[in-house]
Symmetry: C2
């Protein structure tokens, strides 16, 4: 690690972007955090919110400086604004860029035509603009791009890391691994990967494409320093993950809802391992013109296995949890072969944190501290289906202000503390959540 | 064939789109031609033009009706306008859509950032909008999408038709054929293919993706009826093909310019075979949910072989042609393995027209009729490089009006016919072209 190197984190207000910016700043990199704050606006659009309260970006940056003496620079910038991005890259000429700045929800991309188009344009154009700016102002920069294991789909052969050697009719070549992505969002990431690969081949850029699994956990060395440094915890069906949903359901005494038969297998990793993986990639850059792909996850689980882990963790504390299967809102295989190679990051020295009862315990504990903020409809009802798009639950919440509901929830929490009753429908929802929370 | 079926041709003012619309109309389909006329504006933007004069869309449609009694409906519409496209599909509920409506030049997509972004947004969003409109208003419609053999790149194994069965570590799956596309344009087509495949998997749409080789020729049964029914002949380095350039160079007595060593191998087909292939696909639709890929070409040639064919065709008439090799403006392999399967359309009954002296003769003859319109700079100088984008030739022509230069050329032709001299630079260029044409 060279302490004086400049690293730009694109999408630094997001779930992983924010802890990543702190992590790099802690390590001594000159860290530049960039975000257009659109993730918070998407919450407003869909009536969703982080269960864990998150501070404004200004408060995050100020608190980080106050507690560590380190400064993270910040720029409010949209990657689809090619000129602004060009100026950013020219200004900093970074040694590396870590690119999280994409719409990252599969269900969000499946809501309707407008969301599919918005997802693909936002992601593909932002990434394409970045490639041109790097070529122009920082051709030696290491582009660390966050891809997704969901780009591959679920092939009936082992998934390799980006490339596969194919022997065919007596000849052989090492070619990009064939992909059958899960959603319009994942399709946008496939297009990104192909554009980056091309820019490396033709222009000699260098890039690491990290096909990341599902990330869980909220506690890093840095987020733990102060509540203002916390990162998001999404539990709704658009932005949350299955594991988050299961933990919130278990913590609030609600049934754990598995979509479909539950044999859907994916790769998973702890957010601390995301920090470590990206740092390893950063410290071991590819050569000029090299495009390499790492599969960034540490364990594979089926949905049923995840549910079992949560059930077992709660049982260890004497709590029983029910598991129910809902009709699958997605179009996907529910029983399938899945075996993905993920040795490159281990070879670079990754020491994984495996999913254990202690992690589930800490997530459940975190949820219980904020149980009054849980909205049971957002928690339990898939609001987007792959065949039909945004359904009645999406429409119910779209455009409503999550903030006003949170203020209601906070008011109800106070009322309950004072022993007062409440009659409105919103209050009833909050009561149910609180009541459920009280049972577990 | 069911004569009453409605087929929409998207991009019906283009090189292939226009003869395709006439072909379908002749066959008795209710044909709806759609175009936003942007190809003509791109000519204005880049100072390029069709060597063969083309009539306005209004004159084309009127002439077709006058000569055949058949009516082709027309809509001026941009696929990126999702609402207008939705209304179109709802209005006609077509049995099939033939989709040519994309920016189709690799060099155009490599000019600069703006052209790369414009190409990918135009193509990807237009295609994505189409998928949503079909799902909504015509879910049984057969989407016939024009892809490109250039999506595959030049792998060291045989190229299969869209999918390949991979045996790997003792397991097997049939997966999308891995692609390493040649340009940002080809990358946009790869993204299209993946979006269409997804829409077939998840929504049950049906589609034939035609990965077409390089098309040559201007004479179909229909274009031959009248000069107003002619289709484009592009010879410049942005919109023209190598074979067109070679024919124009040979016809005007200029050296044949091969980029690089000339071992670059691609698939080729006659425009009459394009008509036949698309008709075969149309008359043999896939089942609901099926996404199939046909490789649409009839012969493979290296650039050197193409040059040799043109040289031989001219020699048969007693004319000598010189072949020169220019520095390759593209980043590509110049000697490589290339063998692409293309049996699906033959299995459906395609009877190919192979590239022969007679075709080259007819192209040379066509060029000589319009030799005064040839601009030797546009003909001989690559104006876009893969590493540097639009060069001094691009900048020289961008924004200049091709029409005013064509008017000059026409005036000079008249002057020459009258035996008058001319001194301007433009006149000198035209004189050179005409003089060169006179030598051959």
């Amino acid at each position: 690690m060279t302490a004086s190197k400049t690293v730009i984190v694109l999408g630094a207000d997001g779930y992983i972007g924010w802890p990543m910016a702190m992590h790099l700043s802690r390590l001594g990199y000159q860290t530049v955090a960039v975000d257009n704050m659109v993730r918070r606006r998407w919450d407003e659009e869909g009536g969703t919110f982080s269960l864990l309260p998150i501070a404004s970006i200004e408060d995050r940056l100020a608190r980080w400086h106050e507690l560590t003496g380190k400064t993270i620079a910040f720029r409010d910038l949209d990657l689809c604004d090619g000129e602004a991005l060009d100026e950013l890259i020219a200004e900093w000429r970074p040694a590396a860029v870590v690119h999280f700045a994409e719409q990252r929800s599969a269900p969000f991309s499946m809501i309707d035509q407008e969301h599919a188009v918005r997802t693909q344009v936002n992601n593909i154009v932002g990434n394409l603009n970045l490639l041109f700016s790097l070529r122009k102002h920082a051709p030696d920069c290491h582009l660390i791009k966050l891809g997704s294991m969901g780009e591959y789909g679920c092939p009936n052969i082992d998934i390799e890391e980006g490339f596969i050697t194919i022997n065919h009719k007596g000849r052989s070549d090492r070619l990009p691994f064939p992909k059958t992505p899960h959603s319009f969002y994942h399709l946008s990431k496939v297009a990104d990967s192909e554009n980056i690969h091309f820019a490396c081949r033709v222009w000699g850029l260098r890039s690491t494409d990290l096909n990341q699994g599902v990330v869980y956990g909220n506690a890093t060395e840095d987020t733990a320093l102060h509540p203002d440094l916390a990162t998001r915890l999404d539990f709704d069906s658009v932005w949350g993950t299955a594991l988050n949903r299961f933990c919130v359901q278990a913590a609030t005494g609600n049934p754990i809802t598995v979509y479909g038969r539950g044999g859907q297998t994916r790769g998973y990793l702890d957010v601390r391992d995301t920090m470590a993986c990206i740092t390893l990639a950063l410290e071991n850059p590819p050569t000029a013109g090299e495009y390499r792909v790492f599969n960034q996850f540490t364990e594979q689980f089926t949905l049923n296995q995840l549910a079992d882990i949560v059930v077992a963790a709660r049982k260890a504390h004497g709590f029983e949890s029910e598991v129910v299967h809902l009709e699958n809102p997605r179009v996907e295989m529910e029983e399938h072969y899945y075996n993905a190679t993920h040795s490159s990051l281990l070879d670079l020295g990754l020491q994984p944190h495996y999913l254990a009862n202690t992690l589930v315990d800490s997530m459940v504990s975190l949820v219980q501290q904020h149980a009054d903020r849980v909205d049971p409809v957002l928690l339990e009802r898939p609001s987007v289906t792959w065949k039909g798009g945004g359904n009645e639950y999406w429409k119910q919440y779209a455009g409503t202000s999550a903030q006003s509901r949170l203020r209601e929830a906070d008011a109800k929490m106070v009322q309950r503390a004072l022993g007062a009753g409440a009659g409105s429908a919103a209050a009833h929802r909050e009561e149910s959540a609180a009541g459920a929370g009280g049972r577990s």
